[in-house]
Symmetry: C2
Subunit: 354 residues, 2 copies
DNA sequence: TTGAAAGCGCTACCAG
DNA sequence: CTGGTAGCGCTTTCAA
């Protein structure tokens, strides 16, 4: 095996090897390897284009790969951001993660790491410690219940942070990219009211996360404007107990003649749909439904389901932009609020009056 | 702000600060911070227990966090493994990823990173380059079509690698944790045959991935043993074209009087179920179904669905064990084959003969 | 049981 | 445009 081959195999080609082979200094190689391509194709660094080309050729030939540990140690940066959703298997987060990754790579040359908090504040804390130890340049996180402290620590450490999907009240120094949750709740109730329904209820999580309280407020406001405050009712459950609470809530509601439910998140929607199927209840006749987020399930359910969606791509890209500004320009985090979109389905159409 | 507070905020507490504060050398601190807890509670390092305790106390008080970039640069290791599924939003991979992460943390003290290849060999290649640059100690990867080259590069770089869920034929020097795919295909066909069905067909991906060809072989073998070779038929599709191919295959099959389908993966199953719903076909009377992997969808479909599952926890943990041995003991990768499990549902029960 | 010192590969500063 | 060099924080000999 030649020396070249040996170095390639062990991935031990350093900047120094490239420099020697190309007959230049390590400084030049570093410049070239870190130069960004300018729109006109030229390299954004003070190096003779010919020299640069030679360096690039040699680097490619030797199979040079930057040792990011060394670069990170020296520069204190890692060109890496972390994305921390609450549940990576959720379509909403899976989609958004992909948008974030693409945008971060394309526009900022960041590598993106993922870790799921599973709605567990302790786990989120551990992840953020890891983030910290890894010189991560910035974090995009969907907070879960009780995670305010962990996120505050991030801010104290001066790590640029963007909250996505869920807000935490009274936290300073972070960027935020959120849905207009009040509007979402308002639109959901409004739609059901416009269909002539009155007994419209809601199931929500008592998580202390403002996304939920905002959706509740929007719902309540629409009910109030329609003079239906007396019929409005918000049931509360938790992630841990939803599977047992919801069947009770639903069977009881059907007995009480409730006409519709607004379900402000995917997991509640899925749970309700499952309960309805188990009990032989049909939508929209037994219960009209307005659900949230996207899911394969909505398509495969016997009746298509009306649901509100968050503008995925926009959310993800905005999050990267806000974070990028915080990292590159040391700007304070800005807040961006996006509008929800309504997808109409059979669960709110042609409802037989009881 | 005190000096202590300042250092904590900036997360700039180094091993040297701890050493000075504790009145010992940096070497001692390094020993203590890297020592593993022995079963009896003592520390596995040549340091006076009293000194060690003092060091730990000081480190905790100053909020010391190891700079992993420095550690990785010096040691050439990162205590980090990467998990690369084809699609992280898939329940199967989401579940397995969680098992891997837990096991890796608990038994090996590894941090786990995730990146999804989206069934794209080019993207997988990019990810593996990143892995390479990051001093990742080992990789657990689900290969996708055309990824053999990229994975071979990993092996050439001497990065311990374990293939999970899908095999690549003729690749040397990797660990493998796979399902007995032949058995799965055999069991699926066998079940349908035992229900008195004869016209049993299969839809598969033409991906050149042996998991699929093995499932096909198992199916064919069972059909052959039942003297049904003449009726056996395997339709082929691809990820890109499944959405248009499958409606055609299914409507045509119903016309031809096909009685059952075996669908050797989750995405094919979902697509078929959607097609059947759109066309008003019912299972099992129009078509009996044996599906694969787990999904919310199976539960919410009007009829519960018979499906084969992979033993998630076992798969994940085995993968970590195999990888761990490769990393720690420089052992060659071993191959582990696990048995599928059948979950019976309504899609294969009480079938009306046509 | 403890400590001194040599770098890991890279970036950033400074000088030419 | 080019190059010399200090040192990021840590692990790892080696010696005491």
């Amino acid at each position: 095996m030649s020396r070249e081959e040996y170095l390639m195999k062990k991935n031990k080609v350093t900047i120094r090897n490239v420099a020697e082979e190309a007959g230049v200094s390590v400084t030049l190689v570093s410049f070239v390897m870190n130069a960004k391509q300018r729109p006109d194709g030229s390299l954004d660094c003070p190096v003779n284009p010919k020299t640069a080309a030679r360096v690039k050729e040699v680097a490619a030939r030797l199979g040079y790969r930057k040792n990011v540990a060394a670069a990170s140690l020296r520069s204190g940066r890692s060109n890496t951001i972390a994305v921390i959703p609450t549940d990576i298997s959720n379509k909403f987060f899976a989609g958004i993660s992909r948008c974030i990754e693409d945008k971060a790579q394309k526009d900022y040359n960041y590598t993106t790491l993922f870790a799921s908090s599973d709605e567990d504040a302790k786990k989120l804390g551990d992840i953020l410690d890891t983030v910290n130890a890894h010189n991560i340049d910035g974090v995009i996180v969907a907070p879960c219940e009780g995670s305010k402290e962990a996120i505050q620590k991030l801010i104290d450490y001066r790590i640029p942070t963007v909250l996505i999907d869920r807000n935490i009240e009274g936290i300073e120094g972070v960027g935020k990219v959120l849905l207009d949750d009040f509007q979402a709740g308002y639109d959901a109730a409004q739609l059901l009211i416009s269909k002539g329904l009155k007994k419209i209820e809601m199931i929500s999580y008592s998580l202390g996360i403002s996304s939920f309280t905002e959706r509740e407020t929007g719902y309540s406001k629409a009910m109030e404007e329609a003079g239906l405050t007396g019929l409005a009712k918000i049931h509360n459950t938790t992630y841990a107990t939803a599977a047992t609470d919801i069947p009770q809530i639903i069977t009881d509601a059907v007995k009480r003649g409730v006409e519709a439910f607004f379900l402000p998140t995917y997991s509640l929607s899925a749970q309700v749909m499952k309960t309805m199927k188990d009990n032989g209840y049909k939508t929209p006749d037994d219960l009209a439904l307005v659900c949230f987020d996207v899911s394969d399930i909505y398509e495969l359910y016997e009746t298509s389901v009306t649901h509100l969606i968050q503008p995925l791509k926009e959310l993800g890209e905005k999050a990267v932009e806000v974070l990028g500004k915080m990292i590159e320009k040391n700007e304070p985090g800005e807040t961006v609020i996006l509008k929800p979109e309504m997808i109409l389905g059979g669960s709110t159409e042609n409802i037989k009056k009881k």
